[in-house]
C-alpha cells in the first residue's frame, strides 16, 4: 500500500479505508487485484514524472508559464481566418462555467433536464438564424462540419465527387480532404476545386458549370468566403448544382445572419459553419466548433452523423422534456454501420451559444452585423489610402478583407514582425497559401475594433512600410 500523503482529489487515499476495502474483498494487497495483467505486460521501469505540486505551487507554476503569452487583450489583434475575436458577454461566461453541466455526463432526460433544454435552445435559436428546422448538436469544427456534410450529400446522391470553391481556408480544405480522400479508398469522394475570379474573389461561374456533372454530389461554397467576400452569385450557384442533381452545401459565419440572407433562401440544402462566433472566446483555437443544419426531412435526418436533442412529451400530461433523438443511427448505436462517427465534441460551446443568441436577439444580430460591416469597410478604406497598400477584393466583404503589400518593399512577414513591436497582431499571411495574391494578408475587423484602433493600425502600417 502506498504510504504517501492523502490526496485532496481522492477520498480513498486514506490508507485505513483502503485496508477496510481490501478486507471486505478478502485480498491482501491492491496488487493482487491486477492478476489479469501478465508480468511481461507491466512497465519495464516506474513512471517518472515531475513531482506533485500543492495547489499554490501549481498556481505559481501555471501562471509563470502563462504569463509568457501575449494576448489579444493587451495587443491589438487583426487575425481571423477561422477563429475570430468578438465580444463575449460576461453573463455568457458565467453561464458556461457552471459546474452542474460542466461536469455532467449523459444523465437521464428527467435528471439532466436543464442541460438538455439548454442544448435544445442552442439548436432552436441557431435554427431561427438559419431559417432551418433541423440542427444537429455541434461538431468539433467548421471544417469537420463541412467534411461530414459533404459525406452526407455523397450518401444521399450516391455520387462520389464534390466541387469546392478554392477561396476556402486551406486548413478547412485539408480537414475536408481528410474526410473525403484518398483515392485508394473504396467509396472515397473526389474533391474538385473551382477557381475564383482574381479581381472579385467570387466564383467563376463558367468554370463551375464545366466542373459540375452527373458525378457531382455537392457544391460547397462559403458566404462570406475565406477572403471575406460576400458571394452574390449564390442563387446561380445553387441553380447550377440543382440542375445537375447535386446538392448545395453552404458554409456561413452565423454572426453575419442578422444582415446576410439565410442560405436556405438562396437554395442551400445543407448549411454548415462555425459556432465560435456565438459567444465563445478564441481559447487559442480551442473555441473552435461547427454545426450542420438542414430542412427537417427524412432524407436529411437519416444521414446525420451528429447526435440530436429533441423536445418530447413526458408521461405527465402537459409536461415537456428533452432527450437524445436518432441516437440509433449514430456510431454509438450502430458502430461501423452508423453514419460516420460521433463522440465528444464541443457541447459546452452550444450552451454559450444559447445564452449568446438569447442576449443578442434579432436586434443585436442586426446591430453587430451592421457594425462589423461598417467598421471593416472603414478600416479597408483607410488602409487603401496608405501609399503602396491595396485592398484585394474591395467590394462586398463582411468582416475580413485582403490587404496587398506588393506596392511596398516589405513582405507580409516583415510587416507583421514590425507590427508586433507596436503591439499589433497583423492579418494572416496568405502569401504561401495563395501565391497568386502576392504579398497579401487577411485582416479581420469586428465590432470590437474602434475608430481609434483602426487609426492606430493605419499609423503603424505607414510607419512599418516606410522603414
Amino acid at each position: 500500500m502506498n504510504a504517501i500523503k492523502p490526496h485532496p482529489y481522492m477520498a480513498n487515499s486514506v490508507p485505513e479505508l483502503q485496508q477496510q476495502m481490501l478486507e471486505s474483498i478478502g485480498v491482501e494487497k491492491i496488487d493482487d487485484l491486477f492478476v489479469q495483467i501478465p508480468k511481461d505486460h507491466r512497465v519495464t521501469r516506474p513512471i517518472d514524472l515531475p513531482p506533485r505540486l500543492s495547489e499554490y505551487e501549481l498556481r505559481r507554476h501555471m501562471v509563470g508559464m502563462l504569463s509568457k503569452n501575449q494576448t489579444t487583450e493587451t495587443n491589438l489583434n487583426f487575425l481571423g481566418a477561422g477563429c475570430w475575436q468578438h465580444h463575449v458577454p460576461a453573463a455568457v461566461d458565467e453561464v458556461v462555467r457552471r459546474n452542474e453541466w460542466l461536469t455532467s455526463i449523459f444523465g437521464e432526460p428527467s435528471s439532466d433536464h436543464g442541460r438538455n433544454q439548454a442544448w435544445f435552445e442552442f439548436c432552436s435559436q441557431l435554427g431561427e438564424l438559419l431559417d432551418m428546422d433541423l440542427v444537429g448538436l455541434p461538431v468539433r469544427s467548421w471544417g469537420m462540419a463541412a467534411g461530414l456534410a459533404l459525406r452526407m450529400a455523397a450518401r444521399q446522391t450516391s455520387r462520389h465527387e464534390v466541387t469546392i470553391v478554392r477561396a476556402v481556408d486551406p486548413e478547412r480544405l485539408s480537414v475536408i480532404r481528410n474526410y473525403c480522400e484518398p483515392p485508394e479508398m473504396e467509396n472515397h469522394i473526389a474533391v474538385r476545386l473551382v477557381e475564383f475570379d482574381p479581381s472579385s474573389g467570387k466564383i467563376k461561374l463558367d468554370d463551375l458549370r464545366a466542373a459540375v456533372s452527373e458525378q457531382t454530389a455537392a457544391i460547397y461554397f462559403e458566404v462570406p468566403s475565406y477572403f471575406g467576400v460576400i458571394e452574390d452569385q449564390a442563387q446561380e450557384i445553387a441553380e447550377i448544382a440543382h440542375a445537375a442533381g447535386a446538392m448545395v452545401v453552404v458554409g456561413v459565419d452565423p454572426i453575419s445572419m442578422g444582415v446576410l440572407e439565410a442560405p436556405i433562401n438562396y437554395g442551400a440544402d445543407i448549411v454548415v459553419g462555425t459556432i465560435q462566433t456565438l459567444g465563445v472566446h478564441m481559447h487559442a483555437g480551442g473555441g473552435t466548433g461547427g454545426f450542420i443544419a438542414s430542412r427537417d426531412e427524412e432524407r436529411f435526418a437519416s444521414e446525420y452523423p451528429t447526435l440530436f436533442i429533441s423536445i418530447a412529451e413526458t408521461i405527465e400530461p402537459g409536461e415537456y422534456g428533452f432527450g437524445l433523438g436518432l441516437f440509433h443511427q449514430s456510431s454509438y448505436g450502430l458502430r461501423d454501420k452508423g453514419n460516420d462517427w460521433t463522440g465528444h465534441s464541443v457541447y459546452m460551446w452550444a450552451i454559450a451559444g444559447a445564452a449568446y443568441m438569447a442576449m443578442m436577439g434579432p436586434r443585436g444580430f442586426e446591430e453587430v452585423g451592421t457594425q462589423i460591416l461598417q467598421r471593416a469597410h472603414y478600416a479597408a478604406q483607410r488602409i487603401s489610402e496608405i501609399e503602396g497598400l491595396k485592398i484585394g477584393f474591395p467590394d462586398g466583404f463582411f468582416k475580413e478583407f485582403v490587404v496587398n503589400f506588393d506596392g511596398t518593399s516589405r513582405s507580409v512577414a516583415q510587416v507583421n514582425d514590425a507590427l508586433r513591436d507596436e503591439g499589433i497582431f497583423g492579418g494572416k499571411d496568405l502569401s504561401a497559401e495563395f501565391p497568386e495574391l502576392g504579398q497579401s494578408a487577411l485582416y479581420s475587423v469586428t465590432e470590437i475594433h474602434t475608430h481609434d484602433d483602426i487609426e492606430r493600425l493605419c499609423s503603424a502600417l505607414k510607419k512599418v512600410i516606410s522603414k
Binding site: N12, C83, S104, G258, T288, E313, A355
Partner: protein, 529 residues
C-alpha cells in the same frame, strides 16, 4: 451523540442501518427560451459607431448586395441580460450530473479540479488567437510540450499531437495516419481492413469505416475476450491495422495482447491502442512496451478535464512511434533550445483533422492535473479505482437480481465490471431503464448500461474511479439494494420513477419518430401546431 444528530444523513454518506434517503430536484417549469422575453428588450447593446466611421461608411444597405441581404429578422427572443442569465442558471440547477455521484462506466468520471478551471479561464488562455506568432505564445507552447512529455512517459510513444477534439476524433486521426503509412508503402489499396473487437469503443470501428476501411469485429469467447484463433483467422495481407482497447469496456484485460500485436505486426499491420480505459492501468503498463505503434489518451476524462455532458470541448491526444510521426497532423510543438516552435514543415503530414493546433484549455487542465497528482498520485489513482471497483462488486453481487457478466472469468476486473439485471427483469418486470430512473430519485446519476450492441441482457457498468470515498460507494450500493427491494415488493414504484426529478420520463419513442421528434422549437411548432 443524540438521536437527532445521529439520524442526519448527507447524500454522500451511507450508514449501514439506514435506508438511503431520497432527494428533491428543483422544478422551475422553465419555458423554452423562444417563448420568453418582450419585443424591444435587449440583452447586449453595442457602442454607437463613431461619427468618423459613420460619416464615411453608410449603413448596411450599400455594403451588402441586395440579393444577399437578410429579408426577415430571425425570430429570436428579446430579453434582458438578467432574464437570460437566470434562465440558464435555473436550467443548470435542473442538471443533476455529478452533483452527488456519477460513476458512468467507460467515461471515467473524476474530479475536475477548480484550480484547473481557474487557470484555463485566464485571459492568457481565453484571449489567445491560434495563429499568433509563436513568439507571443511561448507559455502556451511550453504547456503543450510539457504535456507531450508526460504522455510520452506514460505511454512510451515518441511524439504526441493534440489536434483531435475528442477521443473519437483521435481514433479518426489514427485511421488517417494508418492510411498515410500504408499509402507511403504503396500498399493502401491492398491493406483495406481494420480489425477491432466488439468490446472496443464503437468509435474505433466507426472511424475506421469512415476512413474507408473494411471493419472486422472479433467477438468474445467465454474468457471475456476474443480468442487468438479468431484473431489469426482475421489477420491477412489485407490487414491495415488493429484498433483495440485493453482492458475493455467490461473491465476484462486480454492477457494475450502482446501476442496479438506480434501477429498483426508479422502480417504487416499497425497496432493502435485506444487508452479509453487507461484509468485502471495508469503507470502499470505502457502501450509502446506492449508493442503498439500508436495510442490515444482522452484528456477530458483520464486527465481530469471535464466531460461536459459527453459533449466536450474535449481533446484526444494521439501519440505514436518515431516511424509514424512523420505522418502526424501538423503543426507539432517542438522545443528548440529554450524556444518552443510550431513545426509546420512536415511534408509527409496528413495535414489537418481539425483547424488549428489543439484544444488548448483542455491541455492546460490536463497538464495541471498531472502536476497535482505526480507519478505517485497517478499510480495511486489507478490502484484506488481498481480497488473501488472490486469493493463495489462484492456489495453489488450480494443484491437480489444482479449478476456479473462472464461468470467463468474469475480473475478480478480492472476499473469496471459489467453486470446484468436480467434476473431482476424476469422476476419483477423491472428493467435497467427503470432502475436508471429510480436512481435519480436518490440524487445518483443514472448508471451506464453498455455500448451497443448489448452482449448481455439488461447490462450495467459502473466505474467507481478514484474520487469517491468508501461511504459514497456504500451509498450507491445501498441505493441499488433499496431499488432491488422495491422491484421485488412494489415494482410499479420503480417502473413509474423518477418521482422526485425535474420532469417525468419521456414518452417512449417520441424523440425518434418522424411525426413527433423535433430538434428545434420551430420544427416542434410546425409538427405540433
Amino acid at each position: 451523540m443524540n438521536q437527532h444528530i445521529k439520524s442526519l444523513q448527507s447524500p454522500g454518506h451511507q450508514q449501514s442501518n439506514q435506508k438511503p434517503k431520497e432527494i428533491h430536484a428543483p422544478v422551475w417549469n422553465e419555458p423554452v427560451i423562444l417563448e420568453m422575453g418582450y419585443p424591444g428588450r435587449r440583452g447586449l447593446v453595442l457602442a454607437e459607431v463613431e461619427p468618423e466611421i459613420s460619416a464615411r461608411v453608410p449603413e448596411t444597405d450599400a455594403l451588402v448586395p441586395q440579393s444577399m441581404r437578410r429579408a426577415t429578422p430571425p425570430a429570436l427572443p428579446e430579453m434582458t441580460e438578467p432574464e437570460v442569465l437566470y434562465h440558464y442558471l435555473r436550467l443548470s440547477q435542473q442538471t443533476l450530473g455529478m452533483m452527488s455521484m456519477s460513476i458512468f462506466g467507460t467515461c471515467t468520471m473524476k474530479y475536475n479540479p477548480q484550480i484547473n478551471e481557474a487557470m484555463a479561464w485566464r485571459p492568457e488562455v481565453t484571449e489567445l488567437h491560434p495563429l499568433q506568432h509563436e513568439d507571443t505564445m511561448q507559455g502556451a507552447l511550453e504547456i503543450v510540450h510539457r504535456m507531450d512529455l508526460v504522455l510520452r512517459e506514460l505511454s512510451g510513444m515518441d511524439q504526441f499531437v493534440f489536434q483531435a477534439g475528442g477521443g473519437a476524433d483521435a481514433a479518426y486521426t489514427s485511421a488517417v495516419v494508418i492510411r498515410a503509412y500504408h499509402a507511403s508503402r504503396g500498399e493502401l489499396e491492398q491493406r483495406n481492413e481494420i480489425i477491432t473487437t466488439i468490446q472496443t469503443h464503437p468509435s474505433s470501428a466507426a472511424t475506421a469505416a469512415a476512413a474507408g476501411f473494411k471493419v472486422i469485429t472479433l467477438m468474445l469467447d467465454e474468457n471475456g475476450y476474443p480468442s487468438l484463433d479468431a484473431l489469426k483467422a482475421a489477420v491477412s495481407n489485407r490487414t491495415a491495422a488493429l484498433m483495440v482497447n485493453n482492458p475493455d469496456d467490461m473491465g476484462v484485460y486480454n492477457p494475450e495482447m502482446k501476442e496479438w500485436v506480434r501477429i498483426v505486426h508479422e502480417a504487416g499491420g499497425l497496432c493502435f491502442y485506444d487508452s479509453a480505459n487507461f484509468n485502471g492501468v495508469m503507470s502499470k503498463l505502457r502501450a509502446r512496451e506492449m508493442g503498439f505503434d500508436a495510442c490515444m489518451f482522452m484528456l477530458h476524462k483520464t486527465f481530469g478535464a471535464p466531460k461536459s455532458g459527453v459533449g466536450g470541448p474535449a481533446c484526444g491526444a494521439y501519440g505514436c512511434t518515431k516511424e509514424l510521426a512523420r505522418f502526424l497532423p501538423k503543426p507539432i510543438v517542438v522545443k528548440q533550445g529554450d524556444h518552443y516552435h510550431l513545426d509546420y514543415d512536415r511534408p509527409e503530414s496528413v495535414g489537418k483533422l481539425r483547424e488549428f493546433w489543439g484544444n488548448f484549455p483542455v491541455i492546460v487542465k490536463a497538464y495541471a492535473w498531472t502536476r497535482a497528482m505526480g507519478a505517485e498520485g497517478i499510480s495511486q489513482a489507478a490502484d484506488i479505482s481498481v480497488l473501488a471497483n472490486n469493493y463495489m462488486e462484492k456489495g453489488l453481487l450480494a443484491i437480489r437480481g444482479i449478476t456479473r457478466s462472464h461468470p467463468d472469468a474469475k480473475t478480478p476486473r480492472i476499473d469496471m465490471t459489467r453486470y446484468s439485471l436480467q434476473q431482476m427483469k424476469e422476476e419483477t418486470g423491472v428493467d435497467v431503464h427503470d432502475v436508471q430512473n429510480r436512481m435519480t430519485d436518490f440524487g445518483l446519476d443514472a448508471l451506464w448500461t453498455s455500448h451497443e450492441p448489448w452482449l448481455i441482457p439488461e447490462p450495467f457498468t459502473p466505474e467507481a474511479g478514484e474520487m469517491y470515498g468508501k461511504e459514497a460507494l456504500d451509498r450507491w450500493i445501498a441505493v441499488m439494494a433499496q431499488i432491488s427491494d422495491e422491484a421485488y415488493s412494489n415494482p410499479e414504484h420503480v417502473k413509474t420513477s423518477p418521482h422526485n426529478q425535474s420532469v417525468h420520463r419521456l414518452k417512449p419513442g417520441y424523440t425518434d419518430k418522424p411525426d413527433s421528434r423535433a430538434m428545434t422549437w420551430r420544427g416542434f411548432k410546425r409538427k405540433h401546431a
